[in-house]
Amino acid sequence: MIKYLYTLLVGVLVLNSSAFAAAASNDDLEKELAYLAAERQVVITASKIEEHVDKTIATTTVITQSDIQQIGARNLLDVLRLVPGIGITQTQMGWREIEVRGVKTLTSEKVQIMLNGHPLDHNLQNAGSGWVYDDLPVDTIKRVEVVRGPSSALYGANAFLAVINIITQNAKDLNGVQTSAGWGSFDTQQYRASWGKQFDNSAEAALHFNFTDTNGINSPIPADSLSVQGQPSSAPGRSQLTEGRYDLEWQLGYQDFKLDGRYINKKAGTFFGAASVLSDDRTQQDYNDYFLRLSRTWKIQDKFTVDTQIFHDFYSADNRWQLAPTQFFRTGFQDTRTGGEIQANYHISDTQTVISGFSYAKEQQGNLIDELGGDPEHLMPTLSSSEERTRRRWGIYIEDVWDPLKNLRMTLGARYDRYSDFGGTFNPRMGFNWEFIKNYSLKFSYGTAYRAPAFGELSLVNNPVVSGNPMLKPEEVKTFETGIIAHPVAGLTTQATYYHSAINQIISPVSGQTTILQYANNGSLISEGVELETRYDFGGNLQGSYISANHVLQHSTQLSQQLADVPRHRTNLTANWAFDNTWSSFAHILIKGNTLRNPSDTRNNVPGYALFDVGLLGKNMFGQKVDISFNVYNLLDKRYYDPAPTSLNFIGDYQMAGRAFFGHVSLKF
C-alpha cells in the first residue's frame, strides 16, 4: 500500500520522463551556475518587523522620493504640509510650527523627527526637533514616513503626537554620483552633491553634501511696540528671515558594522524678533548640530538577532537677539546626548515577532553664553538665564507583533523610562488590524506617550518674566484611534480614521511667585477629529498619474474652548498627470479653514484660504541622466496670513509668501 502511495506521489511529480538519458554534462552545470549568478544579482532583505502600511496599527503616511520630485518640494516643510492632519505655520522667531491633529506649540516639541531612525530632539534647552531639521533639503531623501499618534512605547520621549522618520539615500540607492541645483524666488539657491558605492568586500559608502541659502519672503511688518508709540523703530519694515545652511551626511558600512551621521550648520535671521520690537538684520541665529552613530547587527541564530548601537548627539545655539533698536542679547549653550541601545529581535514564527530592548543616555548642557549690550559686536557678560545641567535616563521596552490569523495582526507593547531628574514613566501601546473583508481592514489602537520637560522649563533662571520649575512632571497623552483602510478597486486606496487624544499635565507658564510667570504642569486639552484620505493611481497609458485628496475635521478644546490658531478643517487636493514616460505635471490645492483667536484677543478670526500650486517635471532626459522641474507656488498670488500671537496683535498677522517660483535640475553620473 505504502509503495503504491509513493508511486502515486512520484506520478504526480513526474510528468516528463525521457528516461535513462545520459547524465547531465559539465555544460549543464555551467548553465545552472549562470542561472544562479543571475539570481544572485538581486538581494531582497525584508525585515519582518518592517510593517506594510496596510498592516500596521498606526496611522501612517509614506511620501516617496518620486512623490517629493513631483511635488517640487523645496524642503521638508513642503512635503509635510501635504500630509493629512499636519499644518505648517510661521512663528515670530523664525521657526515654523508643525501642527499635528489640531495641536501646535512654538517649538513643536510634541513631534519627534528622526533621521534614518535616529531621534533628532537634540535641543535639550527648549525641546523639539525642528530647529535645524524643519527646512531639511529633500534632494537626498528616499522616503518620509509620518506616523500620527503616540509612539513613546517604541521610541520613548517626545514621540507624542507624531513621529516623522526621514530615510535618506544609501550607497545602493546612489551607485555613483548625483548632483542637483535649484533656484527660485527670494534669491533661493540650493546645491547638492552625493556619492555612493558598494564595494566587492561588502564595504559600502554614501556621502551627501547640501548647501541652501535664501533671503526669505520679506513679509511686510506694519508696526511694532515702538512704532505704535511714535518712537524710533524698524517698523514699518519687512521680515528678515534669511537662512543659510550646510549639511554633510555620511553612511559607511563594512560587513555588519555601520557608521552614520549628519552635520548641519544653519544661520538664520528672524521673522519678527524675540521681543515686541521688529528686528533689523542684526538678529542672528547660529546653530550647529550633528550626530554620530555606530551600529551593528549580531545574528545569534536564524531567528534571533540583536541590534546594538552607540551614539553621540551634539547641538549648539549661539543667537544674538535684538530687543530694542540699540539693545541686544546674546544667548548660547551646547547640548550633548551620549548613549547606547541594544535591541533583541526574535522571530518566534512566520507570524510572530517580538522585539525587546534597553537604552541608556546621558544628557548634558554647558558652555552657556549670556551677554547684553547696545553694540552687537561688543556685548558684556550678564547673569546666565540657564544652568549647566546633566541628567541620565534609561528605558526598557518590549513589543510583540503577532498575526494569529492570516487577516489579523495584533500589536502589544510597552516601555518604561526613568529619568534622573523627574522619575519614571510607563507607556503602553496596543491595537489590531483586521482585514475583515478582502481589501478592507479595520484598525484600532490605544497608546500613551510622554514629553519630557526641557532643561529650560526645569531650570530657567535670572529671567524677570518667566522662571523654571524643577518639580515638573512629563506631559502625558492618551490616544484612542480607529479607522478603516480599503482598496475597493485596483489602484484606489481610501482611509478614514477617527482619533481622540487627551493631553494632561501640560507644561506651560502660569502666574509665578518670584517672577511674573513660572513653568508648571497645568491643565489638559482634548483633541479629536476625523482624517479622510483617498488616492487613485491610474494604469495603462496613464501609468504614473494619480489623483489624491485628504480632508481633516479636527476639534481641539481646552477648558471647553476651541484652541486658538488651529483650523477646524483642512483639505489637500493633488493631481499628477504623466503625459509620457518623461513629462508629468502636478497640481495641488490646499484649503485651510479660518482660525479662532485667544479669548483675550479682540481681533477678527484669521481668515481661511485656498492656495493653488502647479509644477512640471521632466525625468530621465538626455540619456536617462537629467531630471528637470519647475514649480509655481501660490499660482493665483493669494494674499494669506498665519496668525500672530496675541502679544503682537497690533501688527495684524503674518503675511505669507505670494506667488513664488522654483526650478530644479538634477544630474546622475
Binding site: 511529480l13 510528468l15 542561472y35 544572485r40 525584508a46 489602484g491
Partner: protein, 311 residues
C-alpha cells in the same frame, strides 16, 4: 421616462462592452531577467508556445538588452498596457513590481519566492519543488536517514530553509542548516556540518553555488567524509550526487502559461503560487555503490533515470 430608458440602454451597452472586453484574449508582456541564461530562455520559449496555441499576443522585454531597463520597461508598459506581466527570474519580478505594482504579475524561476515582495494581483510558479514531496521521496529512497545537513545564505534562502525544516520535522527528519555569508566560509562550515549528518542536501542557493570550485569543494568534502549528497538538480549527478529530483523547466514554462490563461479569465485566486508540476528523478547507483550506501529497492519504480558505473 425617456431618460430612464436611455440609462437602461447605456447600462446594457456597458455590460456588453465589458463582457466583450473580458472575452478577448489580452496582451501579455514577458520580462526576462536575461535571455542568455538557459533556464530563463527555456521557460520563456515554452511559455510562448502555449500562448501561440491560444491566440494570445505577447511582447518580450529582455533586461540584459537594455541600458536603462527600468525607464524603458516603464515606457513599454505604458505603450502596451498588458493585462499580465510574466516575469522570468527575480530581477525581472523586482523591476516589474517597482514600475507596475498595479498590474497583474506572474513570476517563475525566482529563487525562494517567499522572500519576494508579493502584493495584490501577484501569481507565481515556484522555482523549487514542494519540499514536503521531496522529503517524502528522500525518506522513501533512504528510510534510515535521520539527519540531513545543508548550507545556505540567509539573504537568499532563509524562508525556503525554514520551510524545509518544518516539513522535515513533520516527517521525522532533522535538518541541520549552516548559514554562510561567503564562499570562503564553505570549507569551515562543511567541516563542522558533515560529521553531524547522514546526508548533505544541495539547495539552489546562489551564494553557496557561486562557482564550479564551490561545487567541487562540497563534493570533495562529502566524499572524504563518505556522506551521500542529494541535489535539487540532475546537473549535480555527474559531480557525485546520489539522488537528484529536478523541476522540469519546460513544464514550468507551460504551467506558467496555463496559469496566465486562467488569470486572464479570473479563475485563479490572487496570491496563488504553484509548485512546479513536472520533475525528473535521477538515481546515481554508481555513487551509491561506491559509498556502499543502501537504498530501498522498491523505490526504483519511481526513478526516471538511473546512472550506472561505466564498465
Amino acid at each position: 421616462m425617456k431618460i430612464m430608458d436611455f440609462c437602461k440602454v447605456l447600462i446594457l451597452l456597458s455590460v456588453f462592452w465589458v463582457s466583450a472586453g473580458f472575452a478577448l484574449p489580452g496582451k501579455v508582456l514577458i520580462v526576462n531577467s536575461d535571455n542568455t541564461v538557459f533556464r530563463y530562455e527555456t521557460i520563456a520559449s515554452e511559455f510562448k508556445k502555449v500562448l501561440q496555441q491560444n491566440a494570445y499576443q505577447w511582447t518580450e522585454f529582455n533586461l540584459n538588452s537594455h541600458a536603462d531597463a527600468e525607464a524603458e520597461l516603464k515606457q513599454l508598459i505604458q505603450q502596451e498596457n498588458p493585462v499580465l506581466i510574466y516575469c522570468i527570474g527575480t530581477k525581472a519580478y523586482s523591476l516589474a513590481r517597482n514600475v507596475a505594482s498595479n498590474k497583474k504579475l506572474l513570476f517563475s524561476a525566482a529563487i525562494n519566492w517567499r522572500r519576494l515582495d508579493i502584493g495584490e494581483g501577484t501569481y507565481g510558479v515556484a522555482n523549487e519543488l514542494s519540499s514536503a514531496q521531496e522529503i517524502s521521496l528522500l525518506r522513501y529512497f533512504f528510510p534510515t536517514i535521520k539527519t540531513i545537513g545543508l548550507l545556505y545564505n540567509d539573504k537568499f534562502s532563509r524562508e525556503y530553509v525554514e520551510t524545509i525544516k518544518k516539513e522535515a520535522l513533520a516527517l521525522g527528519i532533522n535538518i541541520i542548516n549552516q548559514p554562510i555569508n561567503d564562499t570562503q566560509e564553505i570549507s569551515g562550515a562543511l567541516n563542522e556540518l558533515l560529521p553531524k549528518i547522514d546526508m548533505f542536501w544541495i539547495i539552489s542557493d546562489p551564494v553557496v553555488l557561486s562557482s564550479k570550485a564551490s561545487v567541487q569543494q562540497i563534493f570533495q568534502a562529502a566524499q572524504q567524509q563518505k556522506k551521500p549528497v542529494y541535489a535539487y538538480s540532475e546537473v549535480f549527478i555527474e559531480q557525485g550526487a546520489v539522488l537528484a529530483i529536478s523541476a522540469d523547466l519546460a513544464t514550468i514554462g507551460r504551467q506558467s502559461a496555463s496559469l496566465a490563461l486562467m488569470i486572464n479569465e479570473d479563475k485563479v485566486p490572487e496570491g496563488t503560487v504553484q509548485n512546479p508540476a513536472g520533475s525528473t528523478v535521477t538515481l546515481n547507483k554508481c555513487a551509491l555503490d561506491a559509498l556502499r550506501f543502501s537504498f530501498n529497492q522498491d523505490a526504483l519504480d519511481s526513478v526516471n533515470k538511473i546512472v550506472e558505473c561505466d564498465k
